[in-house]
């Protein structure tokens, strides 16, 4: 099987729509086929990393709970947009996963290098 470098970008805030959960479905499907995957949280999407989230009773899926186990699926390329947390005064919040930051320039590079980009 041909391997494709897949970049998944999550830009929507948690609980704003079904898109972030769909992004996770795409990610896990691609991971099942052993495709090299990069996951990037950008803009409001960085809020998925906040560990204080609690969706109990809302009926909505808290995708942050799945993030620490992505390594089990060999998804270890997880990044966030640099300054996106700081711009929201969230830089001191506890995160579900320690991820590296990418500048906008590095994000532009990642988009160019990927064979396929899924932008949610």
């Amino acid at each position: 099987m041909t391997l494709k470098n897949i970049l998944i970008i999550i830009r929507q805030a948690p609980y704003s729509s079904l898109l972030p959960a769909a992004a996770l479905d795409v990610l896990l499907t691609a991971a099942a086929f052993e495709q090299p995957i990069t996951l990037l949280f950008m803009g409001e999407g960085v809020q998925h990393l906040l560990s204080a989230q609690n969706s109990t009773g809302s009926g909505m899926k808290n995708i942050s709970k799945a993030l620490p186990s992505l390594e089990l699926y060999e998804v270890d390329q997880v990044f966030m947009e640099k300054d996106a947390l700081a711009n929201r005064k969230l830089e001191n919040e506890k995160l579900v996963l320690q991820v590296e930051s990418l500048s906008l320039n590095q994000i532009a590079d990642a988009i160019e290098k990927a064979d396929q980009v899924f932008n949610f």
């Binding site: 830009r11 950008m42 906008l104 320039n105 994000i107 988009i111 980009v117 932008n119």
Partner: protein, 105 residues
Amino acid sequence: MTLHLINKSPAKSSALNECLSVLEASNNSSSAILLIEDAVYSALKHPANMALHEKIKKLASPCYLLKEDLLMRGLHAELVEGFTIVDYAGFVQLSLDFKKVQSWS
């Protein structure tokens, strides 16, 4: 070599703004933006669109508008300069010209 597709009104979505921020920071100008559906409202001379238009003016990459979606919405007179209008055939040609197409939802 990416064609960036945007289909949301700038009043509802930050997609165009975020896409422009990435392209501004990029080292290469071989990408392009195509605005379709409600994203064609981004070309209106509305004060709320001014910041976007400034970014588009400075951008090395071209920004296209889909003609059919403009006409459907009755937009043709009050568009700012700096956009290139393409029809559906042009849309198909663009998607062939670029290595990949990505939609900003």
